[in-house]
Amino acid sequence: MIYGTLIVVALYYLVPLYVMVMTSLKGLPEIRLGNIFSPPVEATFQPWVKAWAEACTGLNCDGLQRGFWNSVRITVPSVLLSILIASINGYALANWKFKGAEFFFAVLMIGAFIPYQVMIYPMVILLRELGLYGSLTGLVLVHTVFGMPILTLLFRNYFATLPDELFKAARVDGTGFWGIYFRIMLPLSLPIFVVAVILQVTGIWNDFLFGVVYTKPEYYPMTVQLNNIVNTTTGVREYNVNMAATILTGLVPLLIYFVSGRLFVRGIAAGAVKG
């Protein structure tokens, strides 16, 4: 009974993935004939090759690969910086309560609800004034800012569950603000770091809006390339290439999920739940 339900649900969840993979392995004629659920009669990896290396956007026909490396170049520093800052925030909020801290935090939480569209325009102005517009640094900054509310919440809640006495002990031992952060708190926060990394990697990797608005074509992340490929309107949509491109784009976050899903659940339990 339980298993039956679960298996049915699992199938529902798997269908889209199945369809994506199957479609990406078919040739165009076969797709037009038919059934999206049927496995390919003649599997071909051509769509994958095309999506990765040959699909065109305008005059650039190097597929997703350029976007892939851009995404890496955007994601890695953004994830690191945003987690670093958010964890310090969370730590300061949980352990070094100072006047007004809770107020700023509340503002931050409300900020999490503001649609990004509201921020796009003023952000352009801000970046322009900072001279960061169009640079990778600017984009990293944007991701850091918009990732801050939820990450800060996670870290704050997590650090609040660590025993206060640990923090006191460290102070008696003569450790300062940063010492406690780096030498006591950080080593203890693996589970929540996993959660944060997963959330940020997927969030930033999958981001489209900021990637397209705050960068220039040479820095376009993979999602933008994907959009370019998928939304290019010619007569026949190359669904197989689109699907291959879609899978390729989702591969990195998926991989991270599959590798660290266990820790994710544990970390969520540690950080998010004990609100």
Binding site: I120, R128, K216, N227, N228, T233
Partner: protein, 388 residues
């Protein structure tokens, strides 16, 4: 010098057309750095505007003719091409002149028009009519009469995609072709609210209602899917701009044989002059400035015009070039451009805001059988009033 050019031409034919510009520009010893952004104006334009206002401008960028870039120009973010234009006598060579006028702000020219797209076409599938056992209609009225036969044969008489602007095209067509170019100009150029209630418009609105009936049951999203239905004979006809031709070409269909194109719904020889233009953001670097001028010249040069427009399926902006290779439909367009009536495209005369609101209004009209013509009138008047 490297010049980054942003545009939203990413489909096969479009990209090939752009490549012509790139080739010609590279031949001058500069380098065209392609910055294509897919997803049409809605995705690409904010990026372009953001980059220009954000202080990281590209060398040149595509906009539609008309009002889209006006504020950027007013804010001093765009460079004037006046010296190039007057030197090369653009005002003499560009035809129709309204195209260049759209680039003119306070007497200076700020953009290079590169092509003309007419939106006022009705595309018919010869196959479909053959299947229904009737002759291919010669104009809108005949088309309306043929509709029941098409229905009977299981063919969708008129196909309109669900993108709002497609519905807007139908309105433009009926106003220009049925109410007439004068009314069209009164309404859209002059925002004359009275004209909307005029007797000519009654007929146009009646045609609009008919179109809604004919389009009932059409169930596609995108314009090219609709075109594909026409290509395959699943639909009798589609109201679409001349870019539809690209689709027919890709499907290796021949004008006149496989499909028929009727400008001005076949009722009047009339084209509109929407199109694309390139703008050049103001950049300090003199070398880039020079390259920008070079690019502007290349784009308007007869050779590039021919090469580009052949691939793009649009009409050149200068009357002095000859498109020998143009097919049947394009010929018709060129002829009308030379001799017939030309009306301004909506992009040229309406703000983007008004244009999109109009499109939203029309798609609602097409999707809601109970929405009356009076509602459309009212909406249209509201939009025109705000825009004037």
């Amino acid at each position: 010098e490297e010049v980054e050019v942003t545009h939203w031409w990413t489909s096969g034919g479009e990209a090939a057309a752009v490549a012509e510009f790139a080739k010609a520009f590279d031949a001058t010893g500069n380098k065209w750095v392609d910055g294509a952004i897919a997803g049409s104006g809605s995705t690409a334009r904010p990026v372009m505007v953001s980059r220009i206002t954000g202080g990281d401008p590209m060398g040149a960028t595509q906009f539609n003719h008309g009002q889209q870039a006006q504020e950027l120009v007013e804010a001093g973010l765009m460079r004037s091409l006046e010296n190039v234009a007057s030197e090369d006598g653009w005002r003499d060579i560009v035809h129709p002149s309204s195209i260049l006028e759209s680039c003119e702000i306070d007497g200076e020219i700020y953009c290079v028009p590169v092509n003309i797209h007419s939106q006022l076409w009705l595309w018919l599938s010869n196959d479909a009519f053959e299947k229904a056992g009737i002759e291919v209609p010669a104009d809108w009225n005949a088309f309306v009469e043929a509709a029941p036969a098409l229905r009977e044969a299981g063919i969708q008489p008129l196909v309109i995609g669900q993108q709002p602007w497609q519905a807007s095209l139908v309105l433009q067509n009926v106003v220009a072709a049925i109410a007439g170019p004068e009314i069209y100009a009164k309404i859209f150029n002059e925002k004359d609210v009275e004209a909307v209630n005029g007797p000519e418009m009654e007929k146009a609105f009646a045609a609009l209602e008919t179109a809604r009936e004919l389009a009932a049951g059409s169930n596609v999203q995108e314009w090219n899917q609709a075109t594909t239905m026409v290509i395959n004979g699943e639909a009798g006809g589609q109201v679409m701009g001349d870019w539809a031709q690209g689709e027919f070409a890709v499907a290796e269909k021949v004008a006149g044989e496989d499909y028929t194109c009727l400008p001005g719904l076949g009722l009047a020889d009339i084209v509109s002059t929407g199109g694309d233009a390139f703008y050049f953001p103001a950049i300090e670097d003199p070398e880039i400035t020079a390259a920008q001028e070079e690019l502007a010249r290349v784009m308007i040069s007869p050779e590039a015009q021919v090469a580009f427009n052949l691939k793009k399926g649009s009409m050149p902006v200068r009357g002095d070039v000859d498109l020998d290779a143009a097919n049947d439909c394009m010929r018709k367009g060129l002829d009308i451009l030379a001799n017939g009536t030309v009306v301004d495209g909506l992009d040229q005369v309406l703000s983007a805001d008004a244009g999109n609101q109009l499109a939203d209004l029309m798609i609602q009209f097409f999707n809601q059988p109970d929405m009356s013509v009076d509602d459309v009138k009212e909406g249209l008047i509201g939009i025109l009033e705000y825009d004037s």
